[in-house]
Subunit: 142 residues, 2 copies
DNA sequence: TATTTTTTGCGAAATATTTGCAAGAAGAAC
DNA sequence: GTTCTTCTTGCAAATATTTCGCAAAAAATA
């Protein structure tokens, strides 16, 4: 989605109280750079082209970054997680139920409906941000 | 969600062109009976109290029933799938990002926004139904 | 620089799901 | 009902994804 300088990434990591390490910078920077949510598998592939980094390290960094709210985790029913930068803005995508096509849809807000849902909820008072996955069948598979 | 007679379940299965077997009836009936999406693990537990059924059989039936559109698969970022009956009506739930609490929210439509999103999409012409997972932190975890 | 805490690599383990294969059951045709 | 074909099942083993234990290395702090 966006490219950040090393300094900017460092600041992001410091602000949430995590230690700044080369590997953590790499993981965050790489997730931030994608236009679409990236799978852990692809992320590891991508990172390994440049750096020697263990898969456990990638998983651990994804978890810590997610826990501290810097990245967002999405599933899409594919049996493996996808990650994207947490922008604070909701994220909407349409997902093909047959192949693994994902399309990000921007510019349409459902914030009002979300507010209504939270009002209806008994277990949630508020949510920070939300993401929506709409499942369908893409043109190719149809 | 709802209880169906054996005959009704049989008809549902026949209409999508799958063979009617005791195990398939059990799986579909059990998924249909839940008020909330059920995990495969819980489903197997539940079924095994009454019947001798192999986990592979449960997985294969869930897959075939899902493929034929009788049940819906949901992930919630928990690392394992949940299933619910495919009603043709959209399904909305709020999910806690810390624990595994799920709350179904009924009665709020976002169909208009979904339509707008599909209009914006390049890869999808239409979708049959959709499900939305909103992530937040529940009162307990907050 | 010394100290404390976090992170990393490595291999192994845990979890979730799928698969190959032979035997058994369902549906269709006779 | 019998026969034939195709689908389904059980079982065990394989895959895929993610996590964990532990010792060594690096980051933040004093």
């Amino acid at each position: 989605m966006a490219t950040y300088t090393r300094d900017e990434l460092e600041t992001m990591i410091q602000e949430v109280g995590l230690r700044v390490t080369d590997h953590r910078l790499l993981v965050l920077g790489s997730v931030a750079r994608q236009r679409k949510p990236i799978t852990v598998y692809d992320l590891i592939e991508t990172l390994r082209k440049k750096e020697d980094i263990d898969q456990a390290t990638v998983y651990r960094n994804l978890n810590s970054l997610h826990e501290m709210g810097l990245i967002r985790r999405l599933d899409f029913n594919h049996g493996h997680a996808h990650y994207e930068l947490e922008t604070g803005r909701p994220s909407h995508q349409i997902v093909c139920g047959k192949c693994e096509t994902i399309e990000k849809i921007e510019g349409i807000s459902i914030d009002d409906s979300i507010k209504k849902m939270i009002k209806k909820s008994k277990k949630f008072k508020q949510i920070s941000t939300h993401s929506i996955e709409i499942y369908g069948v893409c043109k190719n598979c149809a």
